[in-house]
């Protein structure tokens, strides 16, 4: 029996686990609530929706946040969980390469997150069509970047899962890395005019900036009156952001496979 067939089997059963757990439905519910909150609160708290469909599209883009949350919750226990929960004693005594196993778990996690992202973008598209009668083509770029970003975050999560003793540790460290450490460093480097394309948080931010850069995005906040706060700030180009995501996706996964291959289930 070939490894590709085993890969299909692992992916199928790992995805079944994601479906059986409540996490997928909880995150879908969170996505729905977040978008609903934006759509309801905006006209209530200001003079209706933004004039520009691009501004509204940028404001509704919670895909990166959902991609991060989904990736971390579906992938945090992928490797660490097998060691921590001792399910590895059953799974690893089957004749399957670890590479096949981890790839199957990766694909299953990615499919779950991709469904979540597509669901979110479907809500945005329907909302924009109802409010403005149009859906900007930039949404396709945004969706493509978001799906690539999800792959990158899953790889980062896999890396931390491969080095962590437990699933909770892997989840927390990944959250801290993606949202806190990377975010702070991005701010400092961006505002001091230094390169920051390699930071995963910056790559995530670029997903909303496809609608016209930070000027369009911040127009939605207090009518764009943000003073000199964003002077000198340069957003990442789509190309740079995509390359950065590919780097995390490949490096994170390769490192996680290498490290977990050396881990022993004692």
């Amino acid at each position: 029996m070939g490894e590709f067939e085993k890969l299909r089997i692992v992916t199928g059963y790992e995805f079944l686990k994601h479906v059986r757990r409540r996490r997928l439905y909880i995150i879908l519910g969170i996505a729905l609530l977040a978008e609903a909150a934006m759509l309801i609160l905006f006209p209530v708290l200001s003079d209706g929706y933004p004039r520009s469909v691009m501004v509204m599209a940028a404001l509704l883009t919670i895909g990166p946040a959902m991609a991060s949350i989904g990736a971390i919750f579906f992938a945090g226990d992928a490797i660490a969980g097998e060691f921590e929960g001792k399910t590895g004693f059953m799974l690893f005594t089957n004749p399957i390469k670890k590479l096949t196993l981890w790839t199957g778990k990766y694909l299953a996690g990615y499919i779950a997150v991709a469904l979540l992202i597509i669901f979110t973008y479907a809500i945005i598209a329907i909302s924009l069509f109802v409010i403005y009668g149009q859906v900007p083509f930039e949404m396709v770029k945004s969706l493509g970047l978001c799906l690539l970003y999800a792959a990158a975050v899953i790889s980062v999560t896999f890396f931390f899962s491969s080095v962590s003793k437990g699933a909770m540790g892997a989840t927390v460290i990944t959250l801290l890395f993606v949202w806190v450490f990377s975010g702070i460093l991005e701010s400092v480097l961006a505002f001091t005019g230094n390169p920051y394309w390699f930071l995963i948080s910056a790559q995530g931010d670029s997903i909303a900036y496809v609608y016209g850069g930070w000027e369009v995005f911040f127009e939605g906040f207090a009518g764009g009156n943000i003073g000199s706060m964003m002077e000198g700030f340069q957003t990442l180009s789509v190309g740079m952001a995509a390359w950065g995501m590919v780097m995390y996706m490949v490096l994170g996964f390769v490192l996680s496979v290498w490290i977990s291959g050396r881990r022993q289930l004692a």
């Binding site: 089997i9 059963y13 005594t93 089957n94």
Partner: protein, 241 residues
């Protein structure tokens, strides 16, 4: 008669702690061999190395002529194993779990479905086949572990305290199952229960501090030491009043 399990000069360090010290032993085909020893003797370490779960610091292990370290997937295809207290994915049912592992071993379609029902019946879990494992007791998980070890009808069974957690009836049923399948398989199993080992095995290896102290038939050990219990106690440094 060929030797299905070959352990050659196996040593294992956990940091500075020496868990196995140049252990060598060979298990002939279709023999049932018990691995006895006190806590920390190296029994589980030996079985985990045979299953490719940990790497030896030195030495080699072979299953059916296959070097476990060099070709782990090939070696594992010949083995059915229960290692430590078994844990399963709580969101799956026994049928789904066995289907997963069976398919990974190349089993398919009606043949797999039939075999799943067979082993579930064998371990007396027929009323629980479609219940999620999160509702299972430890003993029930132990039974399921035995089912997954037997599912693909492997020539070699490697069992680490397989009756742990079972109620007295379960222990008897387990022994009967192993005695039944043991006639056509090679069984290498670690246990603290001398009675269990006496009833299932015809040969015993006694280890302590990672070293092999004795490896002989139970009959011979009983001749030398009056009983298996005496042999165990004397060889491992205990005493019987």
């Amino acid at each position: 008669m060929s030797e299905v399990i070959i352990i050659e000069n196996l040593s294992k360090y956990y940091s500075k702690y020496l868990a196995l010290d140049n252990l060598s032993l060979r298990v002939p085909e279709n023999e049932n061999v018990g691995l006895l020893g006190p806590n920390g003797a190296g029994k589980s370490t030996t079985l985990k190395i045979l299953c490719g779960l940990i790497r030896p610091s030195s030495g080699k292990a072979y299953v059916d002529g296959i070097n476990v370290a060099e070709k782990p997937e090939q070696a594992l295809s010949r083995i059915g194993a229960i290692i430590e207290t078994p844990e399963f994915y709580p969101f799956l049912t026994p049928e789904e779990t066995l289907s997963y592992f069976g398919r990974l071993r190349g089993m398919r379609g009606d043949g797999l479905k039939h075999r799943i029902k067979e082993v579930i019946l064998l371990v007396r879990l027929e009323d629980w086949g479609n219940i999620k494992i999160e509702k299972f007791s430890r003993g029930m998980k132990q039974r399921l572990a035995l089912a997954q070890a037997l599912l693909h009808d492997p020539p070699v069974l490697i069992l680490d305290e397989p009756a742990l957690g079972l109620d007295p009836r379960g222990v008897v049923e387990f022994r009967e199952i192993i005695e039944g399948v043991g006639r056509e398989k090679t069984i290498f199993f670690a246990s603290h229960q001398l009675v269990e080992v006496t009833q299932i095995c015809n040969q015993v290896a006694i280890i302590s501090h990672g070293k092999l102290l004795a490896y002989d038939s139970i009959t011979q050990l009983e001749k030398k030491y009056q009983s298996l219990e005496h042999a165990y106690m004397e060889l491992t440094g205990g005493s019987i009043g």
